[in-house]
Amino acid sequence: MKSKKKTKVITVYLVTIFILLLLTFFLPRLLPGDVIIAMYGGQEMLITDELYNELIALHGLDKPLIEQFLIYITQLAHGDLGYSYIYHASITDLILDALPWTLLLVVGSLTLSSIAGIILGVESSWRRGGRFDRSLLMFMLLIDGIPALALGIMSLTIFSLYCGWFPTSGAVTPYSNAVGITYIIDILWHLTLPLAALTLSQIPGDYLMIRNSMLLIIREPFVLTAYAKGIKERRIKYLHAARNAILPFFTRIGIRVVCIITGVLFIETIFAYPGLGLLTYEAISNRDLPLMQGIFTISVLLVLVINILIDISYKKIDPRVEYA
């Protein structure tokens, strides 16, 4: 019975991957306009018929669509995402260069905002109706209304331009020759503002979610029982109540990762942070078809992998769940 379920889950994932690959392949090709003219038209060069045919052949656009798709899938299976025309570089290399920076931002803000969201949510619900709860709720709703983009620009203007505490852009000081601890400090120093802006934009969602589910959990009889057993309040709060309140929060991580990746696009553009978001922006504004396709494929796979991980670990967190 169990293996049958497993096969079913795997089939669902494989079909999803296939459909998504199909979409990432065909959607950019549905954009209006001649691809070659769109890609090279902005450059200061004359596109002669000869050059045009060469470029068509270079990008493999002279073959039928189905054949192009098969080539794409075969290359993908070998870890080859193609060649970017704006960067003159292998797309796999470009993405591998950018991915660590984006992961640094995404994982960092996911961790920080989860921790902050959980603690604030639990504390707030524990003192529901009190002054702390009400003012925090107001504050969070206010922050929730400000998009990551605006938070980024605000923090850049205040902390970088006026206070001069943080650098305006980039991930490291170019050619500073810093090594060892200085290098790590340099990276963290550059990371602070983008990470703070991204994290701040994520906290309200987490906070509201935890607060709401906590309010339901607190009324459950087992909390009362725990009190009766004489367990310390802090233990009840975090080990008994929060553990149960965290489940819906956990389900949401998959969706949140997608949100953060969108947020990262803006944040990275504002801070010129060399991650995937900035790469996406460059790819779209330059109509670099192969690069767009590569980034979309990787993002899609990334989100799917996270979903699989959540599916697997769900059972660990809530033993009552047999099949997610």
């Binding site: 209006p32 260069d97 640094l104 290098y183 790590i184």
Partner: protein, 580 residues
């Protein structure tokens, strides 16, 4: 926590801190040399060599510090010597002779000779380099070690700007074995003869580093280290002191000046223009197009769209600040009554403020989009302004805003009435008139070329612009071509935006605007001559023969190590917690 756990955590922390230190090659922070930082938003403009730098102005600028051309331009209107000390045009043979500077050396200390120039021509003919088209060049010939003769296959008037001042000379001893220049990224791919040597380029961070070439034939550059950085907001980077040279927003000029920076007001070598589908009624009629020109109030665009930071355009396409501007280009002063009069003369009738003919209202569609200049979109209000102006003279307007690429496609397919577009290079060689007016067979249509081949008179004049080798006669042809262009109006130039750059004078470098733009007309004031030691020589300072300082390989790092360290730490903590 148990003792064992504490020990594990301590070991992990120690490991993350030590690993990068072990990997490091040197720990000296080298800030003693004088350096200059230039910031821009895009960062990556390709590896700085002719084939890998992107075929746009900023890409060429990053390459021009490393590779020298035969001649060059500065803040005067004459071509000045670079690799070639002297040159002459032999009209009877249709050939150019260049006498090379005998002190010119490649960065690997090999001498630069006439062989290299001949090789470059052959190589670029075999492996086309998009920026320089060598169709008009027949071959190069070595006269002696330092003299080269370039034979033309047909007279080509823009030769000096297009080839002499744009073609980077390649070292034969390196490139002769290179089969595919697009794949060539070895260290040797960046050996040129220019004032700066290549140290590093990071695609990931969009940064470049160059080091002054001590043996440069015009003297060692005054700045030892030149760095390009990428930034989200160039102006802020300048104000924060993270860069010494950037472009700035027009609204902040006064503030930046107050902060002690020098502001360079760019020349007007870029124009916004109205593309016209001159194949359909009534736009195929010259009178109607002239009526449009009278209906358009250029000043209103400058005031509202540019908030005053710009100027009205000349109707002859060539920039009014170019040395090639015709003194008597026809002008179309803003005059709605005149426009109405002209349209009426074509058989239209003005009813309730709208023109009609044979029961059909006169309606035109205008396509607008965010036009990007140098890779950045520029939001504007041009669409609404032109709509109001045309509706004032009785033309009904359907304003349609679309993606730039879609507008381009519609224009190329002649699927439009009017479209707002724009392009640069109107301050350089007047061959732009030919390029943006005529559709040449065998070349794919360009969305901002008028493709107006129907005027015999203009065709003849534009042919002279390209092939007349007598400077005086060519000038006459250029003037007359502008006059005819402005009379027939294949497209209507509207305005020139003003761009500003600012730099920190404390670096000792005085940047300047190149007349006609660098190379084929790049309006970026980063001319390498501003950095060359000969300016020190001009002030009477002696140029000491400094041997080039050995350059450490300073490459930009990846965050992988610290990132893995953070992950390792997190995993360790999680492991401990689960155990509990």
């Amino acid at each position: 926590m148990e003792k064992k756990e504490i020990v594990i955590i301590l070991i992990i922390i120690a490991m993350c801190l030590i690993t990068p230190v072990i990997n490091a090659e040197s720990t000296i922070n080298d800030n003693t040399k004088n350096q200059l930082r230039i910031a821009d938003k895009t960062g990556d403009w390709g590896y700085p060599n002719p084939y890998l730098a992107y075929a746009r102005g900023p890409g060429y600028m990053r390459m021009h510090f490393i590779f020298d051309t035969l001649v060059w331009k500065n803040e005067t209107t004459q071509y000045i010597p670079l690799l070639a000390e002297k040159w002459e045009y032999l009209s009877d043979e249709d050939a150019y002779v260049f006498h090379l500077n005998k002190n010119a050396k490649w960065h690997d200390m090999e001498p630069l000779t006439a062989e290299d120039v001949v090789f470059t021509i052959e190589y670029m003919k075999e492996h086309p380099y998009g920026w320089v088209i060598l169709d008009s060049v027949d071959r190069g010939e070595v006269l002696d070690e330092h003299t080269v003769k370039i034979h033309m296959s047909s007279p080509y008037a823009p030769f000096m700007e297009d080839i002499g001042g744009s073609m980077p000379i390649l070292p034969e001893h390196i490139w002769k074995d290179v089969e595919n220049p697009m794949d060539f990224t070895d260290e040797t791919a960046f050996i040129g003869s220019g004032p700066y040597t290549y140290v590093d380029f990071s695609k990931e961070h969009g940064t470049y580093q160059y080091e002054a070439f001590g043996e440069y034939y015009l003297g060692k550059p005054i700045i030892d280290k030149l760095i390009y950085v990428k930034t989200g907001d160039p102006q802020m980077t300048l104000q924060r002191g993270e860069a010494d040279f950037t472009s700035i927003k027009s609204d902040f000029v006064e503030q930046i000046k107050e902060d002690g920076f020098v502001v360079i007001k760019g020349p007007h070598y870029w124009n916004k223009k109205l593309m016209i589908n001159h194949n359909i009624e009534p736009l195929d009629n010259i009178i109607f197009r002239q009526a449009l020109a009278h209906a358009i109030n250029q000043d209103e665009f400058v005031d509202k769209s540019l908030r005053g930071h710009g100027k009205p355009a000349s109707y002859g396409l060539i920039s009014s600040e170019s040395v090639w501007i015709s003194p008597n280009v026809p002008d179309y002063p803003y005059d709605p009554d005149k426009a109405i009069e002209l349209i009426t003369s074509l058989g239209y009738e003005l009813k309730d403020g709208v023109f009609t003919k044979n029961g059909k209202t006169l309606e035109l569609q205008i396509l607008v989009s965010m036009i990007s200049t140098g890779g950045e979109g520029t939001p504007d209000r041009d669409g609404e302004i032109i709509m109001n102006q045309l509706e004032k003279v009785g033309i009904k307007v359907d304003l349609t805003s679309l993606d730039t690429k879609i507008v381009d496609t519609k224009v190329i397919n002649w699927d439009f009435d009017l479209a707002i577009s724009g392009h640069g290079a109107i301050g350089g060689d007047p061959k732009i008139l030919h390029e943006k007016t005529l559709q040449v067979p065998g070349v794919k249509p360009n969305p901002n070329c008028a493709r107006y081949n129907k005027s015999e008179e203009l065709n003849k004049l534009l042919d002279d612009v390209m092939h007349e080798m007598d400077p005086e006669k060519r000038k006459e042809a250029v003037f007359e071509a502008q006059n005819v262009y402005a009379r027939e109006l294949p497209a209507i130039s509207i305005y020139y935006p003003t761009w500003y750059n600012a730099y920190d004078p404390d670096t000792g470098v005085e940047w300047f605007e190149t007349i006609g733009g660098v190379s084929k007309g790049i309006p970026i004031p980063q001319n390498k001559l501003a950095l060359i030691g000969s300016s020190a020589a001009k002030e009477g300072k002696e140029i000491t023969d400094v041997t080039s300082i050995p350059v450490e390989n300073e490459t930009q790092g990846s965050p992988l190590m610290p990132f893995l360290a953070v992950i390792a730490l997190l995993l360790a903590f999680m492991a401990i917690r689960i155990k509990r």
